[in-house]
């Protein structure tokens, strides 16, 4: 018998929005506030007196958590003068744990005599992400930024975050509540945006600025420590100049030998096909070898020397080893994006590659390249959506992955590795 159709029904709907971040607290504490709010509203409908409580779960909440939720509700109801009674109670409360596209919804149908009242409490879904174990090393991720807009790249400098979107550069300042938007700078693109937009941001070589490349445009800015974010000079102009594609972390340049400098320290730049989503294969400086069009490239240090690893648009992964371009095997599971991480685990440097599309969800996995075969060095780290970009952090010890989630929002995760 559904109460909604009863004549004379009175509907009282109570909505409480509860925002909790995914990184917060253990799962049990997620339910404290909604249970308290729902109990309060139920009590305000029923007044003091016993009531029979039933709970059903139509949501993705694990059945293991239902007893805890029940205990919380009973405890909170009792505190409001509504102790849980048996089926003989005159009043009944049926709580349904439900959910929709955006959030969880707890609905209480409170029956008092012939009347039924409905109370609803919204609960923002939040589940902490546990690190995933592996054989050689363990990858873990931490979400550092979320946005409803497309995020192409970001750079963390001092207490600011510079976020590159397809049409704007957005500056965020650090506050006690997280990142807060402080300024937007239009890039001023005149040509149509790409459907698979890409962009990069690097700290400038002087150390007090940054350089941004997006299709058809280049921007630069400075972030002097004495200047507030609002007054950072940022300039954009149309440009078909090649993009810087390799990055040498500070720790590596400090210890680089003269031989290393030839290949690994001088930045390599590549021409980007602005109407498409890949690099043309033409790079500067000339390495003496013709590269195919490629999606991603990175410098990878091995005992035998540093090589340029490229991910060609035909799906092949190649390494420029000496003066020869050689195919790398074992990359069938790789997607189009990879970045290099210095971990001090195993070989010391690993390639972190996105998934190829064979799996149901996107993932990142560490590989080593002792010869010409990529050897998995970690278990896959499941991501919360599709990885759309990856880049190494300035210190080389972590990388960032931009992820388009199932809701169409973007999150940027910092990925680090732990040695097992």
């Amino acid at each position: 018998m559904n109460a909604v159709k009863q004549a004379g029904m009175i509907v009282a709907l109570v909505i409480v929005l509860i925002m909790q971040t995914a990184s917060a607290a253990p799962a049990a504490s997620l339910w404290d506030k909604p249970a308290e709010d729902l109990a309060e509203q139920i009590a305000s409908i029923l007044g003091p007196g016993q009531a029979h409580l039933t709970i059903r779960n139509l949501s993705t909440i694990s059945v293991d958590e239902i007893p805890a939720i029940r205990r919380l509700l009973e405890q909170d109801l009792k505190a409001h003068g509504v102790p849980a009674g048996g089926t003989e109670s005159a009043n009944s409360i049926r709580v349904t744990l439900s959910e929709n596209l955006r959030e969880r919804l707890w609905v209480a149908e409170v029956t008092e005599g012939s009347e039924t009242h409905v109370a609803m409490v919204h609960v923002d879904p939040g589940t902490p992400q546990a690190p995933q174990a592996s054989g050689g090393l363990m990858l873990r991720k931490q979400t550092v930024f979320t946005s409803k807009a497309t995020v192409l790249a970001l750079l963390e400098v001092a207490s600011a975050l510079i976020v590159v979107e397809p049409e704007e550069i957005v500056l965020y300042g650090k506050t006690s509540d997280g990142w807060r938007e402080q300024r937007r700078v239009g890039i001023g693109q005149k040509r149509a945006l790409a459907r698979d937009p890409r962009g990069i941001i690097f700290p400038s070589s002087s150390g007090d600025g940054f350089e941004i490349s997006i299709p058809g445009m280049a921007c630069n800015g400075s972030n002097g420590p004495a200047q507030p974010i609002e007054s950072w000079p940022i300039h954009c102009h149309e440009s078909d100049d090649p993009w810087r594609i390799t990055f040498v972390p500070v720790t590596q340049t400090e210890n680089a030998t003269a031989t290393d400098m030839d290949v690994s320290v001088a930045p390599i730049k590549a021409f980007y096909s602005a109407g498409r989503n890949y690099f043309t294969g033409v790079i500067t400086a000339n390495l003496g070898v013709d590269l195919p069009p490629f999606y991603a490239a990175a410098l990878y240090s091995r005992p035998s020397g540093t090589g340029l690893l490229v991910n060609a648009i035909d799906g092949k992964v190649l390494i420029l080893d000496g003066a020869a371009l050689k195919p790398v095997s074992g990359t069938r599971d790789w997607g189009s994006d990879f970045a290099v991480l210095q971990t001090r685990c195993g070989a010391g440097t690993q390639i972190i590659a996105s998934g190829s599309g064979e799996a149901a969800s996107d993932s990142l996995r560490a590989y080593e390249l002792p010869a010409l075969e990529a050897i998995p060095a970690s278990a896959p780290l499941t991501m919360d959506g599709t990885v759309t970009a990856m880049w190494t952090a300035p210190d080389g010890k972590s990388l960032f992955a931009a992820v388009r989630t199932t809701t169409g929002n973007y999150e940027v995760d910092r990925v680090t590795a732990l040695c097992n």
Binding site: I15, L58, L101, E103, L105, V118, A192, A194, T386
Partner: protein, 449 residues
């Protein structure tokens, strides 16, 4: 119910395509086959490939900028100002101006619009109404408000359908609509060079063509999804996007609300779901699907023949007519409903919708125009001519509007059905939009270079 909801979630996940990927390749021709007309409203396949709206709605139901970059409301949602995206051109080169947008909206919505008047002011379009329009940004994302060019910059009527979308019409030959990539599309050029839409193909022929590699995307009607899976076709299904519902007149014999309530209780949704629609979709008694609201279970779906007979109270109403849209599946469903009603003491004759203008009952498919629940409900009620105050953003308001409408028993929800397509091996990143239409602009071909 829980299982069905879980299945819906899986379908949604599939449709949204959250999987891993390699970057999409440019080039090639996507070959699509459909049974109907690519321009039919709502949700004809070609419409969203060629046309854009002022707004779009994302996967979580939030209105986002499209041809309008931002908007603001004034006067308690009685006045809205939408600022147009600069630098956008129609496929014939005409600039997107506020005058062009107003002209287009006046053509596509001559009456019964969510607004009372629209005006072009500079680079903005102003909507005004005597009643508040709290859901206008999301409503404008609906298929019915996609914007074709109606007058060129030279003051002429354009030839064919011209829009601002990712593909432009190249021609129609041998039963095939040919669309070419719009290189200057404001959202970016699509990955495929062209889309060929082979129209009026039977489902049988579509599946044959898919099997031999002559098609990349074909239809899989809800009632044939299971069969497609048995034939090992790769099926991509959307969350629920079409409501199968019974409309009930409130005049004549059915002016008596008890009789309408008896009809609502007499329909056996389970039989429709299990037998006619082969356990696809969701049984529902609510206008909006559970995945949008989370409270659909508050509306009972069970058949109660005894209660229906009790409500009829010994009255023997005159024979009723039940009109249905064409198609064997809808005919079968209508026959099954007529049988249900006969068991409750009603005499119902099934007729074709085209053969009568004033049927007592109607079996209809109502599209869920977008996945923003308030806008979806408002749009649906307008499409069936039901008046209700537009629900405000709170779920409380939404629930109350839905409950009050359903209480009249003039619209009886039966099933929510998904939209589904079977796809070939060479297509990548195939996703369905919130309204169940394929997003071919973001699909690519594996063998393209």
């Amino acid at each position: 119910m829980l299982r069905r909801f879980a299945i819906s979630c899986v379908m949604a996940a599939l449709a949204l395509g959250a999987g891993a990927r390699t970057r999409p390749h440019y080039g090639g021709t996507l070959r699509v086959e459909i049974e109907g007309d690519p321009w039919q409203r709502p949700n004809g396949l070609a419409r969203r490939l060629v046309l854009d709206g002022l707004t779009r709605v994302d996967a979580d139901g939030t209105a986002r900028p499209a041809l309008a970059v931002d908007w603001k409301s004034e006067n308690d949602d009685h006045r809205w100002q939408f600022r147009l995206r600069p630098g956008v051109h129609f496929q014939d080169g005409s600039p997107l101006t506020s005058v062009a947008v107003v002209a287009s909206l006046n053509v596509i919505c001559p009456a019964n619009c969510p607004w009372t008047a629209i005006h072009a002011v500079g680079s903005s379009v102003i909507f005004t109404s005597d009643s508040p329009m709290p859901n206008l940004p999301a409503l404008l994302a609906a298929d019915e408000f996609l914007l074709p060019l109606t007058i060129t910059s030279e003051g002429k009527t354009p030839e064919g359908v011209v829009g601002t979308g990712p593909f432009q019409v190249r021609g129609f030959t041998n039963g095939m609509l040919i669309l070419a990539a719009n290189d200057t599309c404001w959202q970016g050029r699509p990955f495929a060079d062209a889309v060929e839409i082979h129209v009026h193909r039977s489902i049988h022929d579509q599946w044959l063509d898919l099997g031999v590699g002559r098609a990349d995307v074909v239809e899989a009607p809800a009632e044939q999804i299971r069969q497609a899976q048995q034939q090992r076709l790769t099926v991509v299904a959307s969350p629920p996007v079409t409501l199968l519902a019974l409309t009930v007149t409130d005049s004549g014999a059915l002016a008596n609300p008890l009789l309408r309530a008896a009809i609502a209780l007499a329909v056996d949704r389970g039989a429709l779901y299990n037998v006619i629609f082969q356990k696809q979709g969701q049984i529902t008694a609510s206008l909006l699907p559970a995945n949008l609201t989370g409270y659909a279970f508050l509306f009972p779906v069970e058949r109660d023949l005894g209660k229906a007979q009790e409500l009829r109270g010994g009255l023997t109403p005159p024979p009723l007519t039940l009109a249905t849209e064409g198609g064997p599946v809808m005919q079968l469903a209508a026959q099954r409903i007529a049988l249900n009603l006969h068991e409750a003491g009603f005499n119902v004759q099934v007729v074709n919708a085209g053969s009568t203008q004033h049927a007592d009952l109607g079996l209809r498919r109502l599209p869920l125009e977008c996945n923003q629940p308030q806008a979806a409900l408002e749009s649906m009620l307008r499409s069936v001519g039901l008046s209700a105050p537009p629900p405000e953003q709170s779920p409380v308001s939404l629930f109350n509007v839905e409950h009050n409408v359903l209480d009249r028993k003039t619209l009886i929800p039966l099933l929510y059905l998904p939209s589904a397509f079977a796809i070939g091996d060479r297509i990548r990143d195939f996703r369905l939009g919130p309204d169940g239409t394929p997003d071919l602009a973001n699909a690519s071909l594996e063998d393209a270079q």
